[in-house]
């Protein structure tokens, strides 16, 4: 079966690395650094402006670029291409520079070699975002960026390989999951070439012929061995494998989005999806977190918070917010996935535990979860896509230079009512994807009654999609775009 897929890959894929100009640029040895430098400069400007610039979020580069442009561009690139943000990640520029002088010798602790720690950080970031109103706080946004830089630097200065990316970075985990729906993946062009390969440079790194212990080009730092790699999970698109392969046999190939969620083979560096409870949990947080994050931007959340505050007789936001998070990210998923898994088990011919059943089918929620993230982030991005212009003009003017002119505050973006149609479209596509994936999983797992197994998971997807549509129809808060409310 694997061979069949691989041969199909070889025959039909578009390879971005073989495109004129773009391919040449991406294959250039210093391409990654070249792409990271501008983002690093922008990140530094955001930090400085966040710490020392205007306190009003819509007028500050830190908040505007982070919460409108970065997030929006991130999901758009994931939708149209793949995990190219990790390729251009500015945090890694500083880390790579440090690695020239610091050579860590320790391995990340074995008990932490999973996604549980990064899931916790992912939830913490979502929580802090709401608690500190990060979208409205340039100061805290700047410190968040600083913490990412510091985290990458410290972790990867102590531990070998790409420990920060694989086991720590919350943005990375988001990208890994979302990229399973992307149309491109880093993959082998011809598996016959790999069969003949004896050096395995894509994972071991290319060595100097005269000194076999000296690595002149590192291999995959995330332990993804190209011939056994399946899909985009844990792949940062760093292209080290492309540089290391002596046969020029690795490309960025087009593929069918979300198909990798259906298959359950042994994946290099990842293992078998259905046995990775931590990855399933990450997917669940990804999907339900999308709904929570979107819900938190609409007006009814304030009513809910006020009622909960009255109910608990508290005057601070922390316990109320903690309750909402526990409700959305623990109680709701446990209940809904538990019910779906219980029904599945009762109609299935397979003897699986509830947790194993839920873990297997949870991956079907990825397309819908991504659709909700996409709807949410694209709303801010498209309605405020031009806001970086006046904010940058104002920032330059604050430095006493008129070189870019007076701020043109009238530049905003697309009409919210148009963008709302896009939001509906993204969620509908996500729902379709989740239905397709859950049916495919059911039909793969159940040869006798796949439809019966499919029904509870379809119902779960429909329920979440209905909740997402409801959120979209609520009065939106224009966070960070112009008025920074909420």
């Amino acid at each position: 079966m694997l061979q069949l897929d691989l041969k199909t890959n070889k025959a039909a894929s578009i390879d971005l690395l073989r495109l004129p100009l773009l391919g040449g640029l991406l294959k250039w040895r210093h391409a990654r650094t070249l792409l990271q430098i501008p983002l690093f400069v922008i990140a530094v400007a955001m930090i400085l402006h966040g710490l020392f610039g205007p306190v009003l979020a819509p007028r500050n580069l830190a908040t505007t670029l982070t919460w409108i442009h970065f997030r929006g561009a991130l999901v758009m690139v994931l939708l149209f291409a793949g995990n190219f943000f990790c390729l251009t990640c500015p945090f890694m520029l500083l880390r790579n520079l440090t690695r020239k002088f610091v050579h860590p010798v320790r391995n990340w602790p074995r008990r932490l070699r999973n996604k549980w720690f990064s899931i916790s950080l992912f939830v913490v970031v979502l929580f802090v975002y709401e608690w500190f109103d990060l979208w409205a706080s340039p100061w805290w946004t700047a410190w968040l960026i600083v913490m990412f830089f510091a985290g990458a630097l410290v972790i990867d200065s102590i531990f070998k390989h790409a420990t920060f990316c694989k086991f720590v970075c919350p943005i990375g985990q988001f990208n890994f999951v979302a990229a399973t729906v992307s149309p491109f993946e880093v993959a082998v062009r011809d598996h016959d070439v790999c069969t003949q390969c004896r050096t395995k440079d894509c994972i071991r790194g290319a060595r100097a012929p005269e000194a076999p212990l000296v690595v002149i080009q590192r291999g995959c730092e995330l332990a993804l061995f190209q011939p056994r790699k399946v899909g985009n999970l844990d792949c940062t698109f760093c292209l080290d494998c492309v540089q290391a392969c002596p046969y020029d046999n690795v490309g960025i190939m087009s593929r069918l989005p979300a198909e990798e969620l259906v298959r359950d083979p042994l994946r290099s560096g990842v293992g078998v999806l259905s046995r990775r409870k931590d990855l399933s949990a990450l997917v669940v947080v990804f999907a339900f977190g999308a709904l929570l994050n979107a819900f938190a931007m609409v007006s009814p959340v304030y009513v809910l918070e006020q009622r909960l505050a009255n109910l608990f007789a508290v005057t601070t936001e922390l316990p109320v917010l903690a309750f909402i998070f526990a409700l959305f990210l623990i109680a709701e998923p446990v209940l809904l996935l538990g019910i779906a898994a219980w029904i599945t088990r009762s109609v299935s011919s397979k003897q699986r535990s509830l947790v194993s059943t839920a873990a297997r089918y949870a991956y079907a929620l990825v397309p819908l979860g991504f659709g909700i993230w996409l709807a949410h982030y694209s709303f801010h991005f498209l309605t405020g896509v031009f806001t970086f212009i006046p904010v940058t003009q104002a920032a330059v003017a604050e430095l006493g230079s008129a070189i870019v002119g007076q701020p043109r505050w009238g530049l905003t973006g697309m009409a919210p009512n148009v963008v709302q149609l896009f939001e509906f479209g993204f969620i509908a596509l996500g729902l379709l994807g989740s239905l397709l994936v859950s049916y495919s999983i059911a039909a793969t797992e159940e040869l006798v009654h796949p439809v019966r197994v499919f029904v509870p998971w379809a119902a779960l997807s429909l329920l979440l999609a209905a909740a997402a549509f409801w959120v979209l129809l609520q009065p939106m808060e224009m966070r960070g775009v112009v008025l920074g409310s909420g």
Partner: protein, 177 residues
């Protein structure tokens, strides 16, 4: 080749989808009429979403030398520049937002034309006001527009669905045969 065709089609449709909307008239989210203008002892920014029908105005205030008075009331007055209607005032409601004092008013524009907008700030410690002009714009998109905008998503969904089903059959054909 199936995969190649599907991928190309999906990409083309989505790219078209993104750019087609930029050819439409500008409506946009709220935009500023003016920013940080000194009005009396206040620094005032006014943002608006001036749709014909119900239009929104946001008045963001910050104190210059002293805290904002507790009894501060904000009103928005609108009148066609042509003078065909008398000036109508609408009260703005204070919104409790973190780190920001903001008032929101919903006013009525009955036609797409230029309107004079008066922002009036009243309190026991003194009144102040300023004016600006805004062009009211059509509110938006009807059923046909809805269909036009959603068709590309529908097309992408169909292509994706067909591709997934075919791939699934290709992969599991042996098992289900």
């Amino acid at each position: 080749m199936m995969r190649l065709r599907h991928a190309s089609l999906i990409h083309t449709l989505l790219v078209v989808l993104i750019f087609v909307s930029t050819t439409r008239a500008h409506e946009g989210p709220p935009y500023p009429l003016f920013v940080d203008q000194f009005v009396g002892s206040y620094s005032v920014s006014v943002w608006t979403d001036p749709d014909v029908g119900d239009a929104l105005f946001y008045v963001i205030l910050s104190e210059q030398h002293q805290p904002l008075p507790l009894d501060l009331r904000v009103q928005i007055g609108v009148q066609p520049v042509s003078g065909r209607l008398p000036e109508a005032f609408y009260p703005a409601e204070r919104e409790n937002l973190p780190k920001q004092v903001q008032y929101k008013a919903q006013v009525h524009f009955d036609a797409a034309e230029h309107w004079r907008v008066r922002v009036r700030l009243e309190s026991a410690s003194g009144n102040a006001e300023t004016t600006a002009t805004v062009a009211a714009t059509p509110p938006g998109y009807g059923r046909w527009d809805l269909l036009v905008y959603l068709v590309p998503f529908l097309a992408v969904g169909i292509v994706w669905g067909v591709a997934m089903v075919r791939r699934f059959r290709q992969r599991t054909g042996d098992k289900h045969a």
